[in-house]
């Protein structure tokens, strides 16, 4: 029987399950109990899937008793971001547009986890369609940061990150378009991985910006991610952008490595002192571990944020066209005079302010004439950024940076969209380049708040990133247990 679920990681639970010291049913009941007690305050879940969870846990226990467990995570409870399709379970994207949408099929990644015996507990909150970094753009409610209830958990996978830190679920599946796994992981003191674009199937992930969207796991430690990644990794013929397994070539390492690259562009004027000093401390940990530190330069990173917002909004304006009130989703109850009236009324009612802002921005960026110049320039900047990363990885094996310039902001505070976009400044460059990046805690700031660091690797180097992250968390002793839970 577990008394202290909050002290356990997925890896240690997996061990306990293996040794029959605990059952999946006990873990699942404990998670559900935690959900019941803290969810009114935390609000990480949009939908909790109670009944089936227990039934599935019992099945997992039976499999294990028969020696037929499906994987190391068989019987371990998880949560899934509510923009990932789960057959028969409402998938809202935190939007009124899809408030009652129940998908008829499951995302490939979710299917793989189910087939590995993971126990589905529910769907977590996000910024509507993934557009935001605080969950404040959810059409339903804002999730609270479990470390400091006055602050945001980050976003858009804020519900996923909060549910993991608060041990409502032992791990979660989020999505990352411009930092949506990495930022909330950093703000909630846990680990989030954004794998190489094309490493995991996007099939069933509701599209925000197709050329940037990635699914990524969030867990208490890097060691935990190690257990999850192989299960969800791999080619999927249903996603044309997914890379065939035989083409996932590991880029060569530097001969005298491992070398960690540091770029000034990641330590711009907006960075807070606390974040900077935690990153510097982390660097010294790596030095002590024998890593060499090299300065590198990524001059085009100054275009990353604006390019990201132009490209992602352009793609979003197209991807979100399907929400027209015709086949599924919200349709206006107003009397309309014609079809275009039906479209505009349904879309005006169904989408929130931030989503509308990005659709308008993206529509402008793709429009013939002036607008399109922005889009074309953004594509050029993206190509530049890609090539600068490529040459940087000739000089180093990992690029280390902060996840965000500051600490988790106070929620409810009126921020301009631009201020909010600036929080993404360190996560969007690797998104544009499609490179894998891991976000993990590297220090404790004043008030016990977490500071995250980001390790960016070359294509398909996620296991190397994980190795590095595991070394860091082992040696530094900094992990999710370094932060006191407020819930």
């Amino acid at each position: 029987m577990i008394t202290e679920l909050s002290k356990l990681t997925l890896t240690s639970l997996s061990e306990l399950l293996k040794n029959r010291e605990i059952s999946s049913k006990e873990i699942t009941e404990e998670c559900l109990k935690r959900i019941s007690s803290i969810e009114p305050e935390l609000r990480a879940f949009i939908t909790v899937w109670r009944e089936n969870a227990i039934k599935n846990a019992e099945e997992s226990d039976r499999r294990r008793a028969a020696g037929e467990e499906l994987s190391v995570i068989d019987g371990i409870p998880m949560s899934v971001k509510d923009n990932i399709c789960t057959a028969g379970i409402r998938t809202t994207c935190a939007s009124h547009m899809l408030e009652s949408f129940v998908p008829p099929f499951s995302a490939t990644v979710y299917k793989k986890l189910k087939e590995s015996g993971a126990i589905m507990l529910g769907k977590t909150n996000l910024d509507e369609f993934g557009m935001g970094n605080s969950t404040e753009n959810s059409a339903f409610f804002t999730t609270v940061n479990p470390i400091d209830k006055a602050r945001t958990p980050g976003g858009s996978s804020g519900g996923s990150a909060a549910s993991v830190f608060a041990r409502e679920a032992m791990f979660s599946i989020g999505s990352d378009t411009g930092g949506s796994v990495r930022l909330p992981a950093a703000y909630c003191g846990i680990v989030g991985l954004c794998p190489t674009y094309g490493a995991l199937s996007r099939f069933g992930l509701t599209a925000f910006a197709s050329s940037l969207d990635r699914i990524g796991p969030l867990a208490t430690t890097a060691r935990d991610i190690y257990e999850i990644l192989p299960i969800i990794y791999g080619h999927d013929p249903s996603d044309a952008a997914s890379v065939p397994d035989n083409l996932r070539l590991n880029a060569p390492r530097t001969p005298n490595g491992p070398i960690i690259g540091i770029a000034d562009e990641y330590f711009g004027p907006g960075i807070s002192d606390e974040v900077r000093s935690c990153i510097l401390t982390a660097l010294s940990v790596f030095e002590n571990l024998g890593y060499r530190i090299e300065r590198i330069s990524l001059p085009s990173l100054k275009y990353a944020l604006s390019s990201y917002y132009i490209i992602s909004s352009a793609e979003a304006s197209s991807n979100l066209s399907r929400y027209d009130g015709i086949r599924f989703g919200h349709r206006t109850r107003k009397t309309v005079k014609d079809i275009s009236d039906l479209y505009s009324a349904s879309r005006s009612e169904g989408f929130g302010e931030e989503v509308k802002r990005r659709i308008l921005l993206g529509t402008f960026a793709l429009s013939a004439g002036e607008g399109n110049k922005y889009y074309q320039n953004a594509l050029k900047a993206r190509a530049l950024i890609r090539s600068e990363f490529k040459s940087a990885f000739g000089k180093c094996d990992i690029i280390l940076s902060p996840v965000s310039p500051g600490l988790p902001p106070l929620s409810g505070k009126e921020r301009s969209p631009l201020d909010s976009y600036l929080e993404d400044i360190y996560t969007v460059p690797s998104s544009l380049a499609g490179l894998p990046a891991i976000s993990l805690p590297c220090g404790v700031a004043s008030g016990g708040l977490p500071v995250g660091m980001q390790l960016i690797g070359n294509v398909f180097s996620e296991y190397f990133l994980l190795d590095t992250a595991v070394k860091f968390e082992t040696v530094s002793g900094i992990n999710c247990f370094s932060f006191r839970s407020a819930v």
């Binding site: 990932i84 399709c85 998938t91 994207c93 899809l98 949408f101 998908p103 008829p104 099929f105 995302a107 996007r202 099939f203 069933g204 992930l205 509701t206 599209a207 910006a209 197709s210 050329s211 013929p237 249903s238 996603d239 044309a240 952008a241 352009a314 793609e315 304006s317 197209s318 979100l320 066209s321 399907r322 027209d324 015709i326 086949r327 599924f328 079809i339 275009s340 479209y343 529509t363 793709l366 429009s367 013939a368 889009y375």
Partner: protein, 479 residues
């Protein structure tokens, strides 16, 4: 065009549905006429999270169309999104192609006033079809998504067409080429071939292009001709009156035979094209192209040459046969089985409607029987009147020629003794005819031949009979 001062400049955009097993971006069946909304899935319905995957068969058929039209094939090609809202368009965008289409720069030949003329093909690209709106009686609109995601090619011509007749000839030729190559069934009434016409008028001799209008979605050859004539007349009337043509999108109204404005081009959608991120650029190898090229049967132009030059058919007959691919293919089949190809072609021409009807169904079994008949005629075992009679019998039954001929005693009679008796009987019983002939009425010879034939049940050898009749009549004269 009656107005000699002006000349029409016409380019056609033709959409053709590809004959693939499944749709272009999902595994739903590509089949016309099924119950509404029985061939659709989350992908072709544009559900959240669903992703398209490109059907290679559609790409290869587009390549085939390109090869059949003499196009260059891109080694790398990619898709674009064309964004607009319409209830039949599930995703709010159509996946199409932008500046890297599968094929570019081909041509086809037509006859313009019996002179061969090349019409250039600008490009061929692949795209997905939209669903179909059905406006029912209760004033509501229903949507059938069976067609959503059916693979299309759009074939864009150069503005080389100068008249309605040339446009019709282009379309008919294009349709034939697609049918022979097995790319589409090209049924305009079922919408598997649709045509948009771009049309402008200019002073003859001018090289500048006038302001063009576009007539959308015309669904029959004759409507295309009528629409073009109506629009030309309208544009010329405007120009004569010194008025400007407006850049418009038009629709042809078959009821009134006139064109109707749909929208001004200025108010048209900005389609906001951009590279489709869900479909990666795709490759077409020289090996693909080689395999596809080998798979294209003889096309109309080549057939025309073979039929007129090798088979010695009159040009008109050659074109008649070529106009029905299934009949032409049957001729191919028979020609592999008999030495008397011209006989075969003549049979086909003589009973053309029957052949067209027969070949609508599986007509493979016809080939050996027809070949047998051609051999019998060619080897002189039967004469042409028996052959004709036998042809009608085998077209309407499962009878084989040899069996029918034996059963009815139709094999050619060459026995001179027997035929001499026939000639004698003919002259004896028709003295009037004989004396008519001898008095200079040459037509009477034909009548006597007819009697001879009748007496031999149609199977007397006409060459021998003619010889014998001539001899007999000479003797008759002496007597």
């Amino acid at each position: 065009m009656s107005e000699d001062l002006y000349e029409a400049v016409i380019g056609l955009e033709v959409h053709i549905e590809l004959k693939t097993e499944s749709k272009i971006f999902c595994s739903c069946k590509n089949e016309y006429g099924a119950l509404p909304n029985t061939h659709c899935c989350p992908v072709c319905m544009g559900f959240p999270g669903a992703l398209p995957t490109l059907n290679r068969q559609a790409v290869l058929l587009a390549v085939k169309a390109g090869k059949a039209l003499g196009c260059g094939i891109s080694s790398v090609s990619s898709c674009n999104r064309k964004n607009y809202f319409y209830p039949d368009l599930p995703k709010g965008y159509q996946i199409s192609q932008g500046d890297s289409p599968v094929c570019t720069g081909g041509y086809l030949t037509i006859y313009a006033d019996s002179v061969k003329k090349k019409i250039g093909i600008t490009r061929i690209h692949i795209e997905e079809d939209a669903g179909k709106l059905i406006h029912d009686r209760s004033s509501s609109t229903l949507i059938d998504f069976n067609r959503a995601g059916v693979p299309l090619i759009e074939i864009v011509s150069e503005p080389d067409i100068r008249s309605a007749a040339e446009a019709a000839a282009y379309l008919k030729k294009l349709r034939l080429i697609m049918l022979y190559a097995g790319i589409s069934d090209c049924k305009m009434n079922e919408g598997s071939m649709r045509c948009d016409v771009n049309i402008s008028v200019r002073k003859k001799g001018s090289t500048e292009l006038g302001v063009r209008t576009e007539i959308k979605n015309i669904n029959s050859f004759s409507f295309v001709e009528k629409a073009i004539d109506a629009e030309l007349a309208r544009q010329i009337k405007f120009l004569k009156a010194g008025e400007n043509i407006r850049h418009q999108t038009l629709r042809f109204d078959p009821e009134t035979g006139s064109v109707v404005t749909m929208r001004e081009k200025e108010s048209e959608n900005d389609y906001r094209f951009f590279p489709e991120p869900d479909i990666l650029p795709f490759f077409i190898t020289t090996d693909d192209i080689k395999k596809i090229s080998e798979d294209i049967p003889a096309l109309p132009d080549e057939r025309e040459m073979i039929y007129t030059e090798s088979y010695g058919l009159p040009h008109k007959d050659a074109l008649t046969i070529i106009s029905e691919p299934k009949v032409s293919m049957l001729l191919d089949d028979i020609s592999r089985r008999t030495r008397y190809i011209k006989n075969t072609a003549n049979f086909i021409i003589s009973e053309f409607p029957a052949f067209c009807e027969k070949t609508q169904k599986d007509s493979a079994e016809l080939a050996p029987r027809l070949a047998e008949l051609c051999d019998l005629l060619g080897d002189g075992e039967i004469n042409s009147s028996v052959a004709k009679k036998t042809l009608r019998v085998i077209l309407s039954s499962e009878e084989t020629p040899l069996h029918y001929i034996e059963e009815n005693g139709l094999r050619m009679i060459r026995d001179e003794k027997l035929l001499k008796a026939t000639v004698k009987k003919t002259i004896d019983e028709n003295p009037g005819m004989a004396s008519d002939y001898l008095n200079g009425k040459k037509a009477a010879f034909k009548s006597m031949m007819g009697v001879c034939m009748k007496l031999t049940n149609g199977s007397g050898d006409p060459v021998i009979l003619t010889k014998l009749l001539n001899e007999a009549l000479k003797n008759h004269h002496i007597n």
